[in-house]
Symmetry: C2
Subunit: 153 residues, 2 copies
Amino acid sequence: MYTPDDIDLKLLRQLQKNANITIKELANLTNLSNTPVHERIKKLERNGYIKQQVVLLNRNLLGKKLIVFCNVKLKEHTKEIGNRFVKDITSLKQVTECYNISGDFDFLLKVMVDDMEAYQDFVLNDLGKVKNIGSAHSTFVMGEIKYSTEIPI
Amino acid sequence: MYTPDDIDLKLLRQLQKNANITIKELANLTNLSNTPVHERIKKLERNGYIKQQVVLLNRNLLGKKLIVFCNVKLKEHTKEIGNRFVKDITSLKQVTECYNISGDFDFLLKVMVDDMEAYQDFVLNDLGKVKNIGSAHSTFVMGEIKYSTEIPI
DNA sequence: ACTGAAAGACGTCGAAT
DNA sequence: ATTCGACGTCTTTCAGT
């Protein structure tokens, strides 16, 4: 098992802020030359520390004005029913995040849609088709204060 | 104001899945040559549709085993107190997301830490220093079912 | 607005230390 | 494990349609 050292962590911190940065710039920041920087990044990728490289889009410009956190409780808590729910919910593209949580509810969904009408449609046509949902409670996002994909390292 | 057409949307869908894809590959997918693909991407960047290019890291490998959703209610709801809270909370690196929400609480924080001990430390030393918090309720993540940065377009 | 090709920059690899 | 240098590929630009 591979453990990143301080230089690796420095590279990861830079890359999760801006993946466009060139190897040459990273080499300057770490006082190394291209090759070791390149090899370190490849090693971090091979070992699963770097999962993916993506662009982040502006959801408002693309019409996705509404985020809703939807708390869901299942009717029963058997393994089969849980697995089925996970499979169904994962396939819904409006559900960008889903967590199994502690407390009064079983799952927390982050749902991204155009507007309130689209959310109503989501609840009726998408969530409505998912079996064994006992209850659901929606919390509406009025303002996005902070959104970061950075892991605090 | 610029509005993306179907080809632009196709490019955006690809790029938010994988920003490593080459312009040549995107050109093949859209039956275009390099130049228009390159120009379209630059235009989408200039117009703010593409905000950022980042790598996504594996939080578990980096020791961030615990995510907590923390619901916060302020003591008072004046503009000054709200602004101050936003400023304070935004500066905390463990708070990766923060939303102003409807319902019994005012804000929902997504907090990422190593473990329960680190969360206790966060609540006492970081959240504890933020003024005007009336009450806070923590929901612990037991399992991450889905996490995607993709905007559903 | 797109094609095709040319120029330049960058990622990538091998030899050497 | 790092440096240097060379090669190949991709981004980027430009003339032409």
